[in-house]
């Protein structure tokens, strides 16, 4: 079965969704990411959806789930690159992706992740493992 690759870069995991995902593929990504976060001690997840032509309620729910699960595993999630037409449609559909942090592009997303992970370290000291 096809799979969406998860790349590790330092403390962060990078996912670029480049195919029109069927529902099972979206579910598989959710499971894979959760496993990879816990296996690699990742502190942040960046999901690039700039190639996605639509986000419907199923994919929207997947993004919310990933953000919630990674938060429970002490990692931040940022979704980047949403196309304007997708954003307009998503809001009219009734989804505002509660709990999902977003940034316009990969650069801004990485900055957001670094800043929030850095701020956590300052507050709580480096994580005990």
């Amino acid at each position: 079965m096809e799979k969406i690759p998860i790349l590790k870069m330092g403390d962060f995991l990078l996912v670029t969704i480049q195919v029109d995902m069927h529902d099972r593929l979206a579910m598989a990504l959710q499971d894979d990411l959760t496993k990879t976060i816990s296996q690699t001690d990742a502190r942040g997840v960046l999901i690039d959806i700039s190639s996605l032509e639509i986000v419907d309620s199923f994919i929207g729910r997947m993004l919310s789930n990933i953000a919630a699960m990674s938060r429970v595993l002490d990692a931040e999630t940022v979704v980047v690159g949403m196309q304007p037409a997708v954003a307009i449609t998503l809001v009219e559909l009734g989804l505002s992706l509660p709990g999902v942090r977003t940034a316009l592009n990969v650069d801004a997303g990485m900055e957001l992740l670094r800043a929030s992970v850095g701020a956590n370290k300052e507050l709580y000291g480096s994580r005990l493992r």
């Binding site: 069927h22 529902d23 099972r24 309620s57 449609t89 998503l90 559909l93 009734g94 989804l95």
Partner: protein, 133 residues
């Protein structure tokens, strides 16, 4: 109103949802719908196709391109499933009998210009959506 072209697309199993999105994207681009309008009707079709499979046990999508006086795209999702007991309730945001978010029906209604739903218990459901250029 003149129907310029019509075709039927199967909506039986989960991978068909992707095929539905692809076909609606092609046809709406050919019609010259704006990118936002394309995105809206593709998203609505995705929601309704999934409903057809999950709640209706599968069915078909009719694709019609319309012309005269207006250019538009009309999609009809039809299944022979159990039907919807309370259509008004099913249209309400957040209501679901499945495990979804309950945005599919009400949400897709907001994404199109015309929305018609006919459902009979034990016979099935037919939902017609139209997006005008």
């Amino acid at each position: 109103m003149v129907v310029v072209s019509a075709e039927s697309v199967p909506v039986k199993s989960e991978p068909d949802v992707v095929a539905v999105r692809r076909r609606v994207r092609e046809v709406s681009a050919q019609l010259g719908l704006s990118l936002v309008d394309q995105t809206k009707i593709i998203t609505a079709a995705s929601e309704l196709a999934r409903n057809t499979i999950i709640y209706g046990g599968g069915g078909t999508m009719q694709v019609q391109t319309l012309n005269g006086p207006r250019v538009g795209l009309r999609l009809t999702f039809e299944d022979h499933g159990p039907g919807i007991p309370d259509v008004a309730l099913a249209l309400r945001d957040g209501f679901t009998t499945g495990s979804g978010l309950g945005l599919g029906l009400g949400g897709s209604k907001r994404l199109v210009n015309e929305f018609e739903i006919v459902s009979r218990l034990g016979e099935g459901t037919r939902i017609t959506i139209t997006r005008w250029k």
